[in-house]
Amino acid sequence: MSKNYWRLIKTSVFLFFLMPFVGLIFDAIYDQLGANPIETLHFTLGDWALRFLCLGLAITPVRKIFKQNWLSRFRRMIGLYAFFYASMHFLVFIVLDLSLSWEALLDEVPKSPYILMGLLTYLLLIPLAMTSTNAMQKRLGKKWLSLHKLVYVAGTTAVIHYLWLVKTIDGEPIFYASLMFILLSYRLFNYFKARWSLSA
């Protein structure tokens, strides 16, 4: 297919993935964020970060199982969107929830294991976003693949972050934890399969 065709598709997908963010901006402008606007912003952005993380991790299994290689063209964009939504989620936490107060941060963060887990997740995503360019991929060579396996850790800490936050464990956190478990099990299964076939 032509280059222009792919450019159009990619631009459309890019704009599509931006919609949740645009939606929040509109909701904020029109005062539609509900009784607790900061929480709505914070949670919605966190939800989307997790969704994109799952989506990014689903690319490889879906591509291989259904033999749809074109899907990998969207992997970087999805990964960067996960980072974008995670960054906005982090910013809302620091700027709006903590009101940029060191006092509040030092008081609240150490008492909240789920926040520490969220911060760890975000820290893990930073090097992945920074090395997402073609140039960095080339420069790092084989190390790039090893480095980007960090996303498996980030996926795990992200769902733990969610599970530790909720008062009762039901619906959504269970859904994402299960989905993440399946996506990561696929890798684990392949890893052991490869090792087994090598030693056999």
Binding site: A35, N36, E108
Partner: protein
């Protein structure tokens, strides 16, 4: 409606402290004025339904605080009997039929049995109490409740000397309360107070708020309000009151004994095991307003601290 004239979202709210009487008078005057304007705009048949409790007097202990926007209080409720979503509960709770309603009184009391809510209301004159409401999730609001002191009602049941605690139970009806079909909590929801806490003049039974009937999602037709404790102690849709010798096993305590104690007094110095309780997000404030520092006993220490004299509040959280 008329309420909006007084307390407009995001401008009037937060902790604008006004002299109480000035504030309440202003409230009533504006209410009356707005009532007249609105009354002239609506057909006669509808009038009676609006502001059922507009004439209810302001009782003691009311905080001199501007109330949170009515819409926010109505559409941000934890009502796990329906859903864990604080907004969806507004729609789901509409299915609940709150009249007729009866309350079963049992246990260590002389006057036990089944009582019609109407009869209970007849013998308990209504008053308004503007209380702070602090959720264990670290958000807060200010609500003008309509109801009567819990002690007034409990005394009529003549609890005996064996009554050391009072246990409250919410309606169990999974056909309507669809959240009860799942097991996020053990149903029915149970809450409890020590008898001296229950008899304290701050403990309140609400049947209304904002001069009107209690919306279903806010606990209609009868809910507890204990302003110095985390919100989950203020049990909704009460169908049973039991006087007991032993400490009741409460719903959240059973769900997480390390996280939700029987007392659950608001205390900034005792963090929840998974988050801090030292600050609270005040609903209705601007998104750039920092969180408010949580006060011990939610600011009602002068009234209730003596109930816990000599007790280690970290141990009895």
């Amino acid at each position: 409606m008329s309420f909006k004239l007084l307390s407009t979202k995001k401008h009037h709210l937060s902790h604008e402290i006004t002299d109480k009487r000035v504030f309440e008078n202003r409230r009533k005057i504006i209410k009356a004025a707005a009532g007249t304007v609105i009354a002239s705009l609506i057909p006669a048949g509808v009038k009676a339904e609006i502001k059922k409790y507009a004439d209810v007097p302001v009782g003691p202990y009311s905080a001199s605080l501007a109330s949170t926007d009515y819409e926010d209080v109505k559409n941000y409720t934890n009502y796990y009997e329906f859903t864990t979503n604080k907004t969806d509960s507004t729609v789901l709770a509409r299915a609940l039929k709150t009249s007729p309603w009866s309350v079963t009184v049992a246990g260590e009391a002389e006057n036990t049995g089944v009582f019609n809510l109407e009869d209970i209301l007849k013998s308990n004159p209504l008053e308004e109490r503007v209380y702070r409401f602090r959720c264990v999730e670290a958000w807060s609001m200010v609500v003008p409740w309509i109801g009567f002191p819990l002690a007034n009602m409990l005394k009529r049941f003549k609890p005996t000397s064996k009554a050391k605690y009072v246990e409250f139970t919410t309606l169990y009806n999974p056909d309507i309360m669809i959240g009860q079909r799942g097991n996020v909590l053990e149903w029915p929801y149970v809450e409890g107070l020590r008898i001296d806490e229950a008899m304290h003049p701050l403990s309140f039974m609400a049947t209304g708020m904002y001069d009107d009937e209690l919306p279903a999602q806010n606990g209609a037709p009868l809910r507890l309000v204990v302003p110095w404790k985390y919100g989950f102690k203020s049990i909704k849709a009460i169908v049973k009151i039991r006087f007991t010798q032993t400490m009741p096993a409460t719903a959240w305590n059973k769900a997480g004994p390390d996280e939700y104690g029987f007392y659950s007094n608001v205390n900034p110095d005792v963090p929840h095991p998974r988050w801090s309780q030292s600050r609270e997000r005040v609903l209705g404030a601007s998104i750039f307003t920092p969180k408010r520092k949580t006060e011990i006993f939610n600011g009602y220490g002068a009234e209730v601290a003596s109930l816990y004299a000599g007790m280690d509040l970290k141990k009895y959280f």
